[in-house]
Symmetry: C2
Subunit: 410 residues, 2 copies
């Protein structure tokens, strides 16, 4: 018996059984939401099943995921990422408690593996050999790695100007790369056309509603681990909005299932140079205007978010807020988090921490508040940013005198 009850359009509210298409609303083209049958889920999932389950990864939550029974699963260990208490960060921001959830140890180094976990399982179950995406970032890398693990073929569309290093990683996983002589938007649209033409499986979280369900495992994990002592807030950086929306959905489900005592408020953090959702949120609208985006945090460098409704509604429903942070604040957060916790995050990852400072300054967070920061990707993804965030060391002559002088200067 399937745990999925229906797909519901976030734009026109049209609901149907998950049958006619995997992707957008057949009536209005809007992004859809997966609705579950929690009666079915409760029969297979709860405190007792979790206590007995020794799989410390997203497979713990299979009863809550839209993956048909018998679907091939990646052998890679997705999820089960650690949550660290960070008292030194709490002190720096002047809040009561801070936790950092480090996604850097995921198989391909980022949060996006949660979505790809569901995507490749569904593709393989449907007998699809080719899975496609348009991206130069973590989503493409993640799809390529997880597809390889299941013997699927990743077809990735990138602008021809994409950094060679990022493309090299895709090629290492065996991706067929389509380097398009155009900008990202044109590349994205061409990928959608090709997907329709060839019938490939589509890994775009703005088209394929099942991917957000993979992302919700982050919220499920927070709910399980901190269920008895939940944070007041969960802070995440926001680009398209899917990751935050997914995490929020997981928190809500754990609350509804009685495993999480209260639903944290969502602190949605955008880079000041790429903040169309903050603007829409503050204007109390769901109409999002396209902006020219420009931020060092490339994973959230999004001017026209392709999934705005879910993120805006999640933050509103949680009683949360959007805040913006400057690129300088993002850069400063890289060493601040690394020094206080040992977690080295990429710019978009530490943006969530920079947002805590911004929220304290704005009076949104106070000294009695606790906050969990989701660090969404490893700093190894963008070492150049770390270089910009730190100061070079003086060079020393190879003598003890020089060493002693340097020590005295520290």
């Amino acid at each position: 018996m399937s745990n999925v009850r229906a797909l519901s359009c976030t734009r026109c509210d049209y609901q149907e059984a998950p049958a006619s298409t995997e992707y957008n609303c057949p009536r209005c083209g809007g992004v859809r939401e997966v609705l579950f049958d929690y009666e079915v889920i409760r029969a297979h999932f709860g405190k007792e099943t979790l206590a007995a389950d020794r799989r410390w990864d997203v497979r713990r939550y299979l009863p809550l995921l839209p993956i048909p029974e018998g679907a091939p699963l990646t052998p890679l260990r997705v999820g089960g990422t650690p949550v660290y208490q960070a008292p030194r960060l709490a002190q720096k921001a002047g809040v009561a408690r801070v936790w950092v959830k480090d996604e850097g140890g995921q198989p391909t180094g980022s949060f996006k593996d949660r979505a790809s976990f569901v995507g490749v399982a569904r593709a393989a179950h449907q007998g699809q050999k080719i899975v496609a995406a348009a991206s130069t970032g973590n989503a493409a890398t993640s799809l390529a790695g997880l597809a390889a693990s299941l013997g699927l073929l990743p077809y990735i569309f990138v602008p021809a100007t994409a950094p060679e290093a990022k493309v090299a990683q895709l090629l290492a996983y065996g991706a067929k790369v389509f380097a398009i002589e155009a900008d990202y938007d044109t590349t994205y649209d061409l990928c959608q056309q090709a997907v329709a033409h060839f019938g490939w499986y589509n890994r775009s979280a703005a088209v394929n509603p099942y991917l957000v369900e993979g992302k919700k495992t982050c919220g499920l994990e927070i709910g399980e681990e901190l269920g008895q002592d939940p944070p007041d807030w969960v802070s995440m950086s926001v680009g398209d909005g899917c990751s935050l929306a997914g995490t929020y959905k997981g928190l809500v489900e754990m609350f509804q299932l009685g495993l999480l005592q209260k639903i944290p408020k969502m602190l949605a953090v955008q880079a000041a140079g790429a903040a169309p959702l903050t603007r829409a949120f503050d204007a109390h609208t769901e109409e999002v205007e396209r902006l020219e985006a420009q931020t060092i945090a490339d994973s959230i460098n999004v001017g026209m978010p392709r999934n705005p409704l879910k993120a805006l509604r999640a933050v509103r429903a949680s009683g949360g807020r959007f805040v913006n942070v400057s690129d300088d604040a993002i850069l400063a957060a890289i060493p601040e988090v690394a020094r206080a916790t040992g977690v080295f995050g990429e710019p978009a990852a530490v943006t969530a921490w920079a947002g805590v400072h911004a929220a304290v300054e704005a009076g949104i967070l106070g000294k009695n508040d606790s906050v969990l920061v989701v660090s969404t990707g490893t700093g190894l993804k963008d070492v150049k940013a770390a270089r910009r965030a730190t100061q070079a060391s003086p060079t020393l002559a190879p003598t003890m005198d020089a060493v002693i002088k340097r020590v005295e200067s520290l």
Copy 2:
């Protein structure tokens, strides 16, 4: 009651209680070995304690580690890395079974975190604030990250020519970097002098015998996970030799404790351009000659291994072998492993897989053999190597015609 019985010199066999010094033999200066009291260990560790233990990281093995009770432990999740079956790799090499143990998800992205786990715990327990190392590679990054997590100060000595990107990571963790205008050997010696002068804690696995004990957790994990169905061989790349020696010690201990049915043979893999240990092994000697080392696998680019005895003896005792692989074979192994498993390794990591091919060619491994490959670090540490290992894609005009042509050519 301490689980450590004595320190024994690998060169002159002098034994003493662990008292006079933490480091090398006070008689001859040789590298020492930590000897344990397995009676004490058996009282606190075995099948039952493991079954009840829900910590899926190296803390499961604390009774087997030289960490005094009450010592501060890093909150970072070290170890507990996944082991994946890799049938497509087995088929490629013509062996019966292959497993890949992926160390890329460690807190700083490499195997070295296992050693640093022990090092920073001992340093903190002794009230040391400063921990020192000479390295530009994974050992330094690992020390810096784990030291930061405990509020210790990492002092790292690097040649002034070290790549800025690697140094940036150290700086992000708050390391005080000593950029010495000299080559690596001079830098290393100056670090040792400074450690002696200032009394800093020494994280050199060639001086501090406790670090190898952290590395043995890799063998303990293999022993626990595959104890009933162990591989015939464990393959690892070798530079200084400490990581292989540590892993072997862990396997032996799990066998002695009755948790592992047989001890695998060690397949020690060196890059052909940096293979002084293979030469010594094949010449049946423990005398190692310094070579000019030159390999793309920077983590094992070692011409004068500083801990040769432990590695040579481990391979001999296991009934194993040394093999060499070319840089071309190392580069080819990056996409081969990534495509067949989804595990993206750095050059020194996939060297262990390239060695399986070499061992099959040499008749060391046959079609009935099974082998576990330890992939010691994430490919994100050296994306340049991945770029050299893959071919650039053609660029395409932004039209469906161009896309269709490219698809037809695949």
